[in-house]
């Protein structure tokens, strides 16, 4: 196995477990908390995020290294990444609606939500800061997405299990979900010795 593939694999695993975008970078919390009420919809959102993160990481890498760097417009990366993500999500939504209606009804309604999911932008920005190669960036996108999927599914399952527990009124809903996410994040810190990426 070449060094490039190996490092891509390391990045993939690290992004899922030790550098989880939700639980160690605290990105994408809005949809993480609001769509985690039911396990089925959280899996739907997780899959949609995984797909968009993986593909936009690749797209944004190409745009960054082949358009922004040569033109000296690196400082415009925030705006450009957002435009690329928004347009791509729109495109995927249209294509899915026509070509894969079943998938559209499972993921389609979550796609517009993802446009404004900061975890997707976060992945694009981190891959630049960490100077990943194309392959590494795609692996990081995939890992980020899977990490989101794991985190949101676990949270949804936990929320389902405590649905009949007596939560103090002030903490019901988002309050207890934030506390549970915090405890989950602590758990994930335990994995951080496993692999480290910078």
């Amino acid at each position: 196995m070449s060094h490039g593939t190996l490092s891509a694999l390391v990045i993939l695993f690290a992004a899922v477990f030790t550098n989880n975008v939700v639980l160690s970078n605290f990105l994408g919390l809005c949809s993480f908390l609001s769509v985690s009420r039911a396990v089925t919809s959280s899996i739907g959102l997780g899959m949609a995020v995984t797909f968009v993160m993986t593909t936009t990481a690749g797209l944004n890498w190409l745009v960054y290294h082949h358009v922004l760097v040569p033109l000296g417009l690196v400082y415009l990366r925030f705006a450009v990444f957002i435009i690329v993500i928004a347009a791509f999500v729109q495109f995927v939504e249209m294509a899915l609606e026509r070509l894969a209606p079943a998938l559209y009804f499972a993921l389609g309604i979550f796609l517009p939500l993802i446009t404004v999911n900061c975890a997707v932008l976060g992945v694009a920005l981190f891959m630049i800061i960490r100077q990943y190669s194309f392959l590494e960036s795609v692996a990081y996108g995939l890992g980020g997405g899977v990490g989101f999927l794991v985190a949101i599914t676990v949270l949804a399952s936990l929320r389902w299990r405590i649905r009949k527990s007596k939560v103090p009124p002030a903490l019901q809903g988002a309050g207890i979900a934030v506390i549970m996410s915090g405890i989950m994040a602590l758990g994930f810190v335990g994995l951080s010795g496993l692999i480290t990426i910078n």
Partner: protein, 369 residues
């Protein structure tokens, strides 16, 4: 300087490429071609352009599904049964559908996209709903901020509605308002008057339609009107009637009173009209006329903000439920009620009527959202 141009150029170019891509995708994916809509198991078959929402697609075909919000998915009124081709129920529809409705295939038609051939079922009376380009024949100012508009249908056209039903008015673009909106208004004129409809409209601060009506419309202007809609109608029993309204909620009640007058009805009816002060009252002469022509009718305006001591107010004061208890008393149990107005009035009065022993199925209301 060049760096600014390069930056602007690059962002524009990226945006343009992406926009072109989306445009192509729209052409490629969003073109569904012609699809057929089967209405009521073959009683009508429509060929329509696919890709639009069911509500708008049917409207283009001259079938008007009642909708209070005009297709924004916020009222849930445009329900109809989709028996084939509707796809799964969307999360935007679930709040408006009960479990039985879902099992029955009922959908919110402004949310269902027509992607392939669909089969739908709609009640026969919907076919009676039509649309006209009506001309504004008169504007009556009832009091400051309250107008009554008379819209005449094109020559030879008639609208057949039941007293209490409503119609939709489509606003034109005006001033800074760039969108056309649909608003629902109860018809205030007599159902015998089939050549025109009248609406009582109150000015709402910042309201798109009421601002248009109050500030921009002139006699002779035209607008699209469709109707009749709604099941808030006069029953054909002989029960005593309790009518309750505030502000422009007088509209359907007035239409019902016209209908009673034309039937020569002797039904006992009391109309409680709630206003804050004397300045909010209107149509007093007309109500006086109804009291003379309808032997069983009494008009009871009531002021909820006590009038000034020096104002000569001979009438009632206080809230409607207390007046019902005082004036109708035990007869409430056998009466039926017609309520029209804002949520506060309706909810308060229906709760009171219910507590006084009126069964739910005899309480009819038209609540303004």
């Amino acid at each position: 300087m060049t760096s600014v141009l390069v930056a602007v150029g690059a962002v524009t170019a990226i945006g343009a490429v992406l926009a072109a891509l989306l445009e192509m995708a729209g052409k490629l994916f969003a073109d569904y071609g012609d699809v057929t809509v089967d209405v009521n198991a073959g009683s009508r078959t429509l060929t329509v352009e696919g890709g639009g929402h069911l509500l708008g697609t049917l409207r283009e075909q001259g079938i008007f599904i009642p909708s209070a919000c005009g297709g924004r998915g916020s009222c849930g009124a445009c329900k109809l049964k989709v028996t084939e081709g509707g796809g799964p129920v969307l999360p935007t529809e679930t709040p408006y559908l009960s479990a039985t409705e879902r099992a029955d295939g009922v959908r919110i038609s402004c949310q269902v996209k027509v992607r392939s051939d669909v089969a739908i079922w709609i009640p026969e009376e919907i076919f009676a709903i039509r649309s006209w380009k009506a001309t504004l024949a008169a504007i009556r100012i009832l009091r400051p901020g309250m107008v009554e508009l008379r819209w005449e249908l094109p020559a030879g056209e008639r609208i057949r509605f039941k007293a209490g039903q409503y119609a939709q008015l489509k606003t034109a673009r005006y001033g800074k308002v760039k969108e056309e909106v649909f608003r629902s208004y109860s018809i205030s004129s007599s159902p015998r008057d089939e050549r025109a409809v009248e609406f009582i409209i109150e000015r709402v601060e910042g309201g798109i339609c009421s601002t248009w009506v109050c500030d921009h419309l002139q006699v002779g202007d035209t607008a699209e009107i469709s109707g009749p809609y709604g099941d808030f109608v006069l029953s054909d029993t002989d029960r005593e009637m309790i009518m309750i309204a505030a502000a422009s909620g007088m509209s359907p009640i007035k239409s019902i009173l016209h209908a009673l007058e034309e039937q020569g009805s002797t039904r006992k009816a009391t109309f409680f009209f709630s206003a804050r002060n004397m300045g909010e009252l209107f149509h007093l002469d007309l109500m006086k006329r109804f009291e003379e022509t309808l032997p069983g009718f009494a008009f009871v305006p009531t002021l909820t903000r006590p009038p000034e001591p020096d104002a000569s107010w001979p009438g009632k004061t206080g809230r409607v439920p207390a007046l019902i208890a005082e004036m109708i008393g035990d007869r409430v149990k056998d009466a039926e009620a017609y309520l029209c107005g804002g949520a506060g009035l309706i909810d308060g009065c229906t709760a009171a009527l219910w507590a006084m022993g009126m069964p739910n199925e005899r309480i009819f209301y038209d609540k303004f959202e």
